[in-house]
Symmetry: C2
């Protein structure tokens, strides 16, 4: 095998692994391949570069690079004299993980918290009704307890997101093993 083929093979293995795991980011394999391809490129790429390297339409490249950007997996880059948009892989992967975690779960927490609050208020209100049958009153109380449990859980999730966002997670799990320098970078 020719030497550069060996390099390519080593890269391909990594790229395929990324492609097969990118669903964890809510993306499809081709977006993972795109990310992986950019990762092994030492220069930022244009949409046309990606079209060529991946053999896919420019429209696809445009939409998936946007998806990758929204998850902060890639970012815009600049190079003087180049008019086209340039993109490169974000270089702090720990931060990318945190961003992903935050983006994905924060929305869920917000939506759930709002829904819980509203339903809880309606049920509490229902409980005020003096002519409510004992049977229904009991059913309502059970639901209220369930919603309160959910509320506590989502409150925990919110605080968990905070612990990632403000980097406290690195106090618990330092970036490098057996390292006290977890404030670095």
């Amino acid at each position: 095998m020719e030497d550069h083929e060996k390099i390519d093979k080593a890269r391909e293995r990594i790229i395929e692994t990324i492609a097969q795991n990118i669903h964890l980011y809510g993306l499809v394999p081709s977006a993972g391949r795109q990310f992986g391809t950019m990762f092994f490129q030492n220069e930022p790429l244009t949409l046309d570069d990606m079209t060529e390297k991946l053999g896919m339409s420019k429209t696809s490249m445009s939409t998936s690079v946007r998806a990758l950007s929204e998850l902060k997996l890639v970012e815009r880059a600049w190079k003087k004299g180049v008019r086209k948009d340039l993109y490169k892989v974000t270089d702090d992967w720990h931060q990318s993980f945190i961003d992903l975690f935050s983006i994905k779960w924060q929305r869920s927490v917000t939506l759930h918290t709002a829904a819980i609050k509203k339903s809880l208020a309606e049920l509490e209100e229902l409980l005020q009704n003096p002519v409510l049958s004992e049977e229904l009153r009991e059913e309502v109380q059970i639901d209220i307890d369930k919603l309160k449990y959910m509320k506590d859980y989502y409150n925990w999730l919110e605080r968990l997101i905070d612990a990632f966002e403000d980097q406290r997670i690195f106090d618990l799990v330092p970036k490098f093993e057996n390292s006290n320098e977890n404030t670095k970078n």
Copy 2:
């Protein structure tokens, strides 16, 4: 509005919110609706119960309840005299979150770690070749550095998963706010 309709409305809001967020678990809305429906039921449900309540085929109920089980969101339940399989929502949601986190990411870490190890070995081997051109040697070295970066990152992710699995995450983010009793439950 009739009283029980009010209860149903409060429940529906929560169920729909779950359905719209369950994609975070890699599941489709209907599985979320199934989960939500089970959550507000005070008795474990059979597949036939679910078929009736959700108006979907039994086959669908079977496959999605399995998906829910694999993520430990629901579990089998037993009730004497009932021959059919019974399922109920897992009651420790913090633990469910940890299980999800663990199941989803551990696989990714394992696959990536193996791929990185293999590619790294191939590239190191390539570097041994004494007649390798200076240009290629440099290219290989850059890739090796990138793979080492990935290796560190996935090592961190592995330790992060461990911190969730062995409950140390609750030291950083207690289940209840301002609580020192984070070892409880």
